[in-house]
C-alpha cells in the first residue's frame, strides 16, 4: 500500500486540461462510439477489428492531444504477469512457425495470447479516452437525451439521469472522505485485543468499523443533498445548455459507422479471422 502511494496518483473523472475537437464533441457521441465499437469487438474480435480500433484510438489521442503523463503508471507485477503470459503462451507453440535464422519459433500460442491482451487494451483505452476528454457535467444530460427512446418502455430515464448527475457530483466528495478515513486508520496504533480473539476477527471488526463510518458519512451527505433537492422544489432541469449533437458529432458518428462496417466486413471475409 505504501509503495503504491508513491506512484503517479490516479486522477479520476477529470478531463485532460485543454481543448480540442474531441473535447468539444457531444458526450453522447463519445458514448455511442464506445458502445458501438465494443459491440463490434464483442462479436468480431479478430485482428482486423482490433487493428482498426487501435487506429481509431491512436488518431483520437493525437487529435485530443493527450500527453503521455495522463496514462496511469502500471504496477510492475502487471508487467510481470503479461510477460509471464507471453512466455508460457510461446512455449505452448502452435502454427504458424517463424523461421528466424536457424531457429524455428512456433508463435501460434503467442499470437493468440497477444490478441486477447490487445483486445483488452483497446477496450480499456477506448473508455479511458471518454473520461480524458469529457467533462463529467456533460455526461448525465447526454444520457438523458440518449435515453429518450426508452421512455416509451416506461423506463424512468430522467430519474436515472438525475441519479447519475448526483452520483457524479457526490463521487469526488466521497473519495475525499475515503482518503480521510484511510488516513485516520493509519494514524491509529495496531489494535490491542484480549486473548482468544484471532487476527481474522480483529481484521473483520476493523473492516466493519470502516464500512459503518463510511456509510454513516454517505448517509448524512445523502440526507443533506435530499434537503437541498427539497429546497429547490424537487428534480427538474439538470443542465443549463441544451444537450444534443452538432455538426462535428454527425461527422464523428459517420466515421465510426464506416469503421464498424469495415471491421465487420473484413472479419466476415476472414482477414485475420478466427
Amino acid at each position: 500500500m505504501r509503495a503504491a502511494r508513491q506512484r503517479r496518483s490516479v486522477v479520476l473523472l477529470r478531463p485532460v486540461p485543454g481543448t480540442s475537437v474531441i473535447h468539444r464533441l457531444w458526450a453522447g457521441t463519445k458514448l455511442i462510439v464506445v458502445f458501438a465499437v465494443s459491440l463490434v469487438l464483442a462479436f468480431y474480435p479478430g485482428w482486423a477489428a482490433i487493428a482498426l480500433t487501435a487506429a481509431l484510438v491512436a488518431v483520437t489521442v493525437w487529435l485530443a492531444r493527450i500527453p503521455r503523463g495522463a496514462v496511469p503508471s502500471v504496477p510492475w507485477w502487471l508487467w510481470l504477469l503479461v510477460l509471464l503470459g507471453c512466455v508460457t503462451a510461446t512455449l505452448g507453440g502452435g502454427e504458424p512457425v517463424l523461421h528466424l535464422w536457424s531457429a524455428d519459433l512456433a508463435v501460434g500460442g503467442l499470437l493468440k495470447f497477444l490478441r486477447f491482451t490487445a483486445l483488452s487494451l483497446v477496450l480499456i483505452a477506448l473508455s479511458a479516452l471518454v473520461s480524458w476528454t469529457t467533462n463529467v457535467a456533460d455526461v448525465a444530460p447526454a444520457v438523458a437525451t440518449l435515453g429518450r427512446p426508452f421512455r416509451k418502455l416506461r423506463i424512468p430515464v430522467d430519474d436515472w439521469a438525475v441519479a447519475l448527475a448526483l452520483a457524479l457530483r457526490a463521487f469526488p466528495m466521497l473519495m475525499d472522505e475515503f482518503r480521510l478515513l484511510n488516513a485516520a486508520r493509519r494514524l491509529r496504533p495496531r489494535p490491542v485485543l484480549p486473548d482468544g480473539r484471532t487476527t481474522r476477527r480483529r481484521w473483520s471488526s476493523e473492516l466493519i468499523d470502516l464500512l459503518a463510518a463510511g456509510i454513516t458519512v454517505a448517509l448524512r451527505r445523502a440526507d443533506e443533498m435530499g434537503d437541498a433537492i427539497t429546497a429547490r422544489g424537487g428534480t427538474g432541469q439538470i443542465s443549463a445548455a441544451p444537450s444534443r449533437p452538432r455538426g462535428a458529432d454527425w461527422v464523428a458518428l459517420g466515421i465510426c459507422a464506416v469503421l464498424c462496417v469495415l471491421a465487420v466486413y473484413l472479419e466476415i471475409r476472414g482477414v485475420g479471422g478466427v
Binding site: Y44, T88, L91, L166, L180, V217, G233, I238, V274
Partner: protein, 659 residues
C-alpha cells in the same frame, strides 16, 4: 433519490478502489453493502436508479471491468437487502443466491454462445498459456504424467464449459451473498440509532403560492417524543422586502423556525400566509442551508443555478451569477469552488426561482472570513432589490447589522453569546530562540499533487519552519493556500515532493502516529461505535480499561458517563473533544488541529479554546492549529505563519498585507 445517487456513488467508489488499488480486490465484495442498504430501506426503483448511476460512473472511470463488478454487486446486494427487509434468514439467502447464481450462469452461457468469436479468442488465449505451462512441466520427468493428466482434465473442462460456467457463477454468487449478508447485518446493527439529519419535507399543498407576508402567532414546536419545546411560543411577522435577522444560542430553535417558515405545521399556535409556502417553486420560498458542499447539486456552475427548475424554464444565468459576484464562472466545475463561492452559488440557485421569501440558515458558519464578507455583501440589499422577504439565521454578531431588524430567540440577552469576528493579526517572528527541543523541522517543503500528469497542481512551495516543544503555532491561510496539505505532511500522511519534514529528527512519513492530527470532519475520525471503544482503539489500550478511558475523557473536560454513549449521539463539539482525547491518550509529540472551530457555536468554541489553552499551558503540549479564523486564537497560538497559494509569506510582507 439523493440516497440512491449517493449510495450509487459510494458503491462505485468502492468498486473503483477495488479495481485500481492493487491488492484491494477484496473490497469489491463490500460493494454489496451500500446496495443492500438501499434494497433494505427503499423500493426497487431506487435500487435500479442507483445501480444505473453506479454502473455508469464506474464505467467512465474503470471501463468494463468496473462496470461488471458494480453490476454483479448490485445484483447480489440488492437481493440480500430485499431479503433482509422481508425478514428472511440465512437459509433464504442461500436458496436465493443459488437461484440467482444459476440464472446468472445461464445468462453468461447464453451471451457466450451468441458471442462465439469472443469466446474462441478467450479460450484460445487460455489454452495457449496452459499449453505453455504444461510444455515446461513435461520437460521434467517426474511431472510428465501429471502434466498429461491435467491436460486431459483441462480439455474436458473446455468441452463442458457451459456446465463449468454455471457452477462457477453459482459458487461466486453464493460466496458473495454470504459475505455481503454478513457485512450488511453487522452494518445495519451499527446504523441503528443514527439520527436522521434530514430536515425539510416537501409540503403537500395545492393552490396559489404566496408565502409572504407571514404572521406567526404564538407558534410553538415540539418534536415527537421530545420532552421540551424546540421553539418556544413566538409571535412575529415577516413582510415582503424586509430583511430580518434571527439570532440565538444553539438550541434556541433557530433551525426549527426555519422549518416552520418553510412549511412545517407548528405544534400549537398559528402561522398565516396569503397562499402556499411553495418550497422551491417559482415565486415561493427558497432555503439556503449550512453545508456548502451539499447545497450545490450540479457539477458545473451554470448547471447548478438551473438545477431542479421545471423543464423549459428560461433563466438568465449570467445575470444571476453577476449578482452574487460569480460572473464569468458559468463553465467552472463546482468541485473546485471555495466554501464561500459554493454558498454564493447556492444563493444564485435560490434567486433563480424568484422567491418571495429567502431563508438563509447559518450560511456563513462553514465559510472562511473572506467568504463570509463576500456572502454578506451579497445578502445586504437583496431584500429591497427583489422585493422579497429575507430571513437570515446566524450566530455571528456582525452579520445582524445588515438586517433591518433582529429577532433574538434566546431567553435573555445575557444568555446570548455571539461570536465576535477578529481582524487578522500581524504574523509574529517565526524563528523564536527557544531553548527547548525542536519537534517538527520543515526545510524547503513543497508538494505537487498528480506529479507527472497533465493534472499536476502545486499545493505547497518551499516552506521552512521549526516547531519547538511547547510551541503554539497557528498556520493561517485562505482556501487553496495549501494549509491542509501542510498538515498532512507534518502528520506523515503525505510524503512531500521536495524538501524534508522531520519529526524529532526522523522523516515524518516513517513515524506516522507520533504527530497526532485532528481533522476538521471529526465524525470521520471516530471509527468505532461507542465512545469508550473509540478512545481505547485510537489510543491503543483495552476497552475494558475503564479507568484509562475515563481519565482520557477527563483531560478534555468530558464526563466519564459519556463513555458508554454512542458516537452518533454526540454533538459536534463533543465529537471533537473525543477525537482530541483519544489522540492525547497516546501522548503524541505534537497535536495538529485542522479547523478545530469550524461548525461550532459560540459556547462550544469558547469552551474548546479554553480547554486547548489550558492543555498547552499545563502539560506543555506542542500545538499546531490550522485555521482561517483568528477569533480567540491569539492566546492559544502566539506564533503565526501565513500561507498564500502554497507559499509562506515573509513576515514583513504579511504584516503589511494584514494592515
Amino acid at each position: 433519490m439523493a440516497h440512491a445517487a449517493v449510495m450509487g456513488a459510494l458503491s462505485s467508489a468502492l468498486a473503483i478502489l477495488s479495481v485500481i488499488v492493487p491488492f484491494a480486490g477484496g473490497l469489491s465484495l463490500l460493494v454489496t453493502v451500500p446496495m443492500g442498504l438501499l434494497g433494505y430501506r427503499y423500493r426497487l426503483r431506487v435500487l435500479l436508479a442507483a445501480t444505473f448511476a453506479a454502473c455508469t460512473v464506474s464505467f467512465l472511470i474503470a471501463g468494463i471491468s468496473g462496470f461488471m463488478v458494480v453490476l454483479n454487486c448490485a445484483y447480489v446486494g440488492g437481493m440480500t437487502g430485499i431479503i433482509k427487509r422481508r425478514r428472511g434468514g440465512i437459509a433464504m439467502v442461500l436458496a436465493a443466491s443459488v437461484v440467482a447464481g444459476t440464472a446468472l450462469g445461464l445468462w453468461i452461457v447464453g451471451v457466450l454462445l451468441v458471442l462465439h468469436r469472443l469466446r474462441t479468442v478467450t479460450f484460445e488465449a487460455i489454452t495457449a498459456n496452459f499449453d505453455g505451462v504444461m510444455a515446461v512441466m513435461s520437460q521434467f520427468e517426474p511431472f510428465r504424467q501429471s502434466a498429461q493428466d491435467t491436460r486431459a482434465i483441462f480439455d474436458l473442462a473446455l468441452q463442458y464449459w457451459p456446465v463449468l460456467m454455471v457452477a462457477y457463477s453459482i459458487f461466486t454468487i453464493v460466496l458473495v451473498s454470504l459475505v455481503g449478508w454478513w457485512a450488511l447485518s453487522r452494518v445495519l446493527d451499527r446504523l441503528r440509532g443514527i439520527p436522521d439529519v434530514h430536515k425539510l419535507d416537501a409540503p403537500a399543498e395545492v393552490g396559489p403560492v404566496g408565502p409572504v407576508p407571514v404572521a406567526l402567532t404564538g407558534a410553538r414546536f415540539r418534536y415527537p417524543d421530545a420532552d421540551h419545546d424546540a421553539l418556544r411560543p413566538l409571535t412575529m411577522t415577516v413582510d415582503a422586502g424586509e430583511h430580518v435577522a434571527i439570532t440565538g444560542a444553539n438550541g434556541s430553535g433557530k433551525t426549527t423556525l426555519m422549518l416552520l417558515l418553510s412549511g412545517r405545521q407548528p405544534t400549537s399556535g398559528t402561522i398565516t400566509r396569503p397562499g402556499g409556502v411553495g418550497l422551491g417553486q417559482l415565486g415561493g420560498t427558497a432555503v439556503v442551508m449550512q453545508h456548502p458542499e451539499s447545497q450545490v447539486l450540479g457539477s458545473r456552475v451554470a448547471d447548478d443555478v438551473v438545477w431542479g427548475l421545471p423543464p423549459g424554464t428560461r433563466t438568465d444565468v449570467g445575470t444571476l451569477l453577476g449578482e452574487v459576484g460569480l460572473s464569468g464562472m458559468e463553465e467552472r466545475d463546482t468541485g473546485g469552488l471555495s466554501g464561500g463561492e459554493l454558498q454564493r452559488l447556492a444563493v444564485a440557485g435560490a434567486l433563480a426561482r424568484q422567491p418571495s421569501m429567502l431563508i438563509a440558515d447559518e450560511i456563513t458558519s462553514m465559510v472562511d472570513q473572506r467568504g463570509r464578507d463576500g456572502l454578506l455583501d451579497v445578502l445586504s440589499g437583496l431584500a429591497e432589490r427583489h422585493r422579497m422577504a429575507l430571513v437570515q439565521i446566524t450566530h455571528y454578531n456582525s452579520e445582524t447589522q445588515i438586517a433591518h431588524r433582529t429577532v433574538n430567540l434566546s431567553d435573555s440577552v445575557d444568555n446570548m453569546v455571539m461570536v465576535e469576528d477578529a481582524a487578522a493579526p500581524a504574523p509574529t517572528v517565526i524563528q523564536t530562540s527557544h531553548s527547548s527541543e525542536p519537534v517538527l523541522q520543515l526545510a524547503g517543503v513543497g508538494h505537487e499533487y498528480f506529479r507527472g500528469t497533465p493534472w499536476a497542481k502545486t499545493a505547497l512551495d518551499d516552506v521552512d519552519f521549526t516547531v519547538n516543544e511547547g510551541d503554539g503555532l497557528l498556520i493561517h491561510g485562505g482556501n487553496g493556500s495549501g494549509k491542509s496539505t501542510l498538515a498532512w505532511i507534518m502528520a506523515g500522511l503525505i510524503t512531500p515532493s521536495t524538501g524534508t519534514c522531520l519529526v524529532g529528527g526522523q522523516p515524518a512519513a516513517e513515524c506516522v502516529g507520533q504527530v497526532a492530527i485532528a481533522f476538521q470532519a471529526a465524525r470521520l475520525q471516530l471509527l468505532s461505535s461507542r465512545v469508550d471503544l473509540e478512545v481505547a482503539s485510537a489510543a491503543g489500550f483495552s476497552p475494558h480499561d475503564t479507568d484509562r478511558v475515563v481519565a482520557a475523557l477527563a483531560t478534555v473536560g468530558l464526563d466519564g458517563s459519556l463513555a458508554r454513549r454512542r458516537v452518533d449521539q454526540l454533538s459536534g463539539g463533543q465529537m471533537r473533544r473525543v477525537v482530541i482525547a483519544s489522540l492525547l491518550a497516546r501522548s503524541p509529540k505534537a497535536l495538529i488541529l485542522d479547523e478545530p472551530l469550524a461548525g461550532l457555536d459560540a459556547v462550544s468554541r469558547r469552551g474548546l479554546l479554553r480547554l486547548l489553552t489550558d492543555l498547552r499551558r499545563n502539560t506543555g503540549l506542542t500545538l499546531v492549529v490550522i485555521s482561517h479564523d483568528f477569533a480567540g486564537l491569539e492566546e492559544l497560538c502566539p506564533r503565526i505563519l501565513h500561507l498564500d497559494k502554497g507559499t509562506q509569506l515573509p513576515v514583513a510582507a504579511a504584516a503589511e498585507g494584514a494592515l
